[in-house]
Amino acid sequence: MEQVIDIVLLAFMVVVALAMIHLRNLFAVVMLSGIFSLLSAALFVVMDAVDVAFTEAAVGAGISTVLMLGTLALTAREESPRPRRHALLPLAVVTVTGAALIYGTLDMPHFGDPDAPIHQHVAPRYIVDSPREVGPPNMVTSVLASYRGYDTLGETTVIFTAGMGVMVLLGGLRSRRRKRRDPASPGSDTGETRP
C-alpha cells in the first residue's frame, strides 16, 4: 500500500509539472509550484529524510511561493505567448543528459542498502555512540548540532549576515525614496539618508 501511495504521489508530481508547462496564467503556475513542493516534501518524509522535507515544505511551499507572488505583483500575471520554434536540439540535449544520469546510477547501491559504502564508514560510530555522547534520539540532530557544531555555527552566521545585509539595503532604499517623494517636509534637506 505504501508503494501505491508513493506511485500516486509521483504521478501527481508529473501531472503538476506538465500543467505548469502548459498554463499561461502565472498565478496558477505559482500555486502549482507550491503543490509540487508539498508533494516532494511528502515523498521526502516517506523516504525518512525528515529534515530535508521540512526545508522543502518551509522554503519550497512557503517562502518561495511568497517570493514568486511578490515578483508577480511587480510584473505581469500572464505569460506572453512564445514564437513557435522547433525544439529538437534542446530535446536531444535533455535526452542525452538524462540518459547519462540514469547510466550513472546503474552501479550505485540500492536505496536503503545497509551494505552501501556510505553506511560502512563513520555512520556505525554515530549510531552506536551518539545516544550516549550527545543524547537526542534523532542522530541527524546530534551530528548537526554537536559533532559538526562549528560548521553549523558558521552556516548560521553566514545566513544571518546575508539577511542583515539585505535588510540594511532595502530599508535604506525605502527611507530615501520617501524623503524624495515629499521634499517640502521639514528635516528633508539635512542630507541624511537614514532617519
Binding site: 500500500m1 505504501e2 501527481f12 500543467a19 496564467n25 500555486m31 525528515v50 515544505a57 511568497v66 507572488l69
Partner: protein
C-alpha cells in the same frame, strides 16, 4: 482501514489538483492548494500508521501549521500586493485586485 482511507484521500488530492489546474479564479486555486496541503498532512499520518511509525504525526502537525501560514501569506498578497497589510493609498490608481 488505513488503506481504504488512503485511497479516499488520494482521490480527494486528485480532485483538488484538478481544481488547482482548471481554476478559473484566484480563490479557486488558493482553496485547492490549501485543501491539497491538508490532504498531504493526512497522507503523512496514514503512511505513518501503515508503516508503524506513528511519530509521523508530529511532522504532519507541523506541516499543517506551515500550510496555514502559507495560505494567509498568499491571501494577503492577493489582497494588498504586500505582506505588510493595507498601506497608505498610492498616488497611482489602485490595481483591480483578485481579478485573476
Amino acid at each position: 482501514m488505513e488503506a481504504t482511507a488512503s485511497v479516499f484521500v488520494l482521490v480527494t488530492m486528485a480532485l483538488a489538483l484538478a481544481r488547482a489546474v482548471r481554476g478559473p479564479t484566484v480563490y479557486d486555486r488558493i482553496a485547492a492548494v490549501n485543501a491539497f496541503g491538508t490532504m498531504t498532512v493526512l497522507v503523512l499520518v496514514l503512511v505513518g500508521f501503515l508503516t508503524d511509525r506513528p511519530e509521523f504525526e508530529d511532522i504532519a502537525l507541523l506541516y499543517g501549521l506551515i500550510n496555514f501560514a502559507g495560505t494567509i501569506a498568499v491571501l494577503k498578497f492577493v489582497k494588498y500586493s504586500s505582506l505588510a497589510g493595507p498601506q497608505e493609498p498610492r498616488p497611482a490608481a489602485p490595481r483591480a485586485e483578485g481579478r485573476r
